[in-house]
């Protein structure tokens, strides 16, 4: 089963990279884009046929490695 995981910074956590990207938009004159928050995107294959079992495995993957839950949230999509 294929899965996609998106890891994002929690609200309120400063994202200096997002700010720098915002600054780059301004520097080449692209106006009207703000609130940039940079995150991470993962594609995975899970050796599980049952969606609930796959989700449980991916949740463990997120909690133990893919996300640092002090500052990050994660979202799991099963294909």
């Amino acid at each position: 089963m294929k899965a996609r995981i998106i890891v994002t910074l929690k609200t309120g956590v400063l994202d200096p990279q997002g700010k720098a990207i915002e600054g780059a938009f301004k520097s080449f004159g692209l106006a009207g884009i703000d609130g940039v928050r940079q995150g991470k995107y993962f594609e995975l294959d899970v050796a599980e046929a049952d969606p609930a079992a796959a989700r449980a495995k991916l949740t463990e993957a997120c909690e133990k490695l893919l996300a640092n839950t002090v500052i990050e949230n994660y979202h799991i999509d099963l294909a």
Binding site: V13, A20, K64, L66, N68, V70, I71
Partner: protein, 229 residues
């Protein structure tokens, strides 16, 4: 003092750390490979600085799950001393041995310079060789040293005297540009609840002999040496 330095792929301050441990304690450190599952019988385990696993995913994230870290955790649970410097501090937070996280520097720039630290708790196994409030120099060299934790955790660290070292200016003042990375409350080094695990971003191992420009960093090693004596 019997010590071990944990070596991960991509770590580059392991030999500096081993040298400092030997200079201050007089005994050679054991170098322990990340894939090992047991530590030698030591008083202190040091997780040194560098770029373990190329900082992939997050700084310290992969190293924190390496086989040797289970042994480091058992050593800490037994009350053994653990010191994490720079990438080592990042690894200890990722391993859950210390609270919080080290984020990208607020400036987005890698900082490599001498900073001044103030000893805000001299009553610990890692800082007893310094006087309370003493200001000393250490080099920093990092891109992700911006300490962050939720408000409640920071309050606990502050309330329990677990902020051991803080970035200050030469006169020991805060808020005057002494903080190189934007760390919350100018936090440079923290202690775990039991008082036997310390993480810090600056590199005391690079200031232990006059030939390095000073001996300001000796105090951290001398403190642990006194604690295990």
């Amino acid at each position: 003092m019997k010590s071990a330095v944990v070596v991960f792929p991509g770590i580059n301050r392991d030999n500096d750390m081993a040298h400092a441990l030997e200079v201050v304690s007089g005994s050679k450190a054991h170098m322990v490979w990340h894939a090992d599952t047991e530590l030698p019988d030591v008083d202190v385990v040091v997780v040194p600085g560098g770029f373990s696993y190329g900082d992939y995913l997050r700084c310290g994230a992969i190293a924190a799950r390496a086989p040797i870290m289970a042994a480091v955790r058992r050593h800490a649970e037994r009350g053994g001393f653990v010191l994490g410097v720079c990438n080592g501090f990042q690894i200890l937070t990722e391993a859950g041995l210390l609270p919080g996280v080290l984020m990208r520097n607020a400036s987005l720039k890698f900082v490599c310079k001498l900073v001044h630290l103030r000893v805000d708790n001299a009553n610990t196994a890692f800082s007893s060789a310094y006087a309370a409030g003493e200001v000393f120099r250490t080099p920093v060299a990092h891109g992700e040293g911006n300490y962050f934790a939720d408000d409640e955790t920071v309050k606990r660290l502050e309330g329990e005297g677990r902020v051991v070292f803080r970035y200050v200016d030469t006169a020991g003042n805060r808020g005057t540009g002494g903080n190189p990375n934007g760390a919350v409350n100018d936090i440079a080094g923290i202690l775990n609840e039991a008082g036997n695990v310390l993480g810090m971003m600056p590199h005391p191992e690079n200031l232990v002999e006059p030939i390095q420009g000073g001996t300001d960093g000796r105090g951290i090693f001398a403190s642990v040496l006194a604690a295990v004596a």
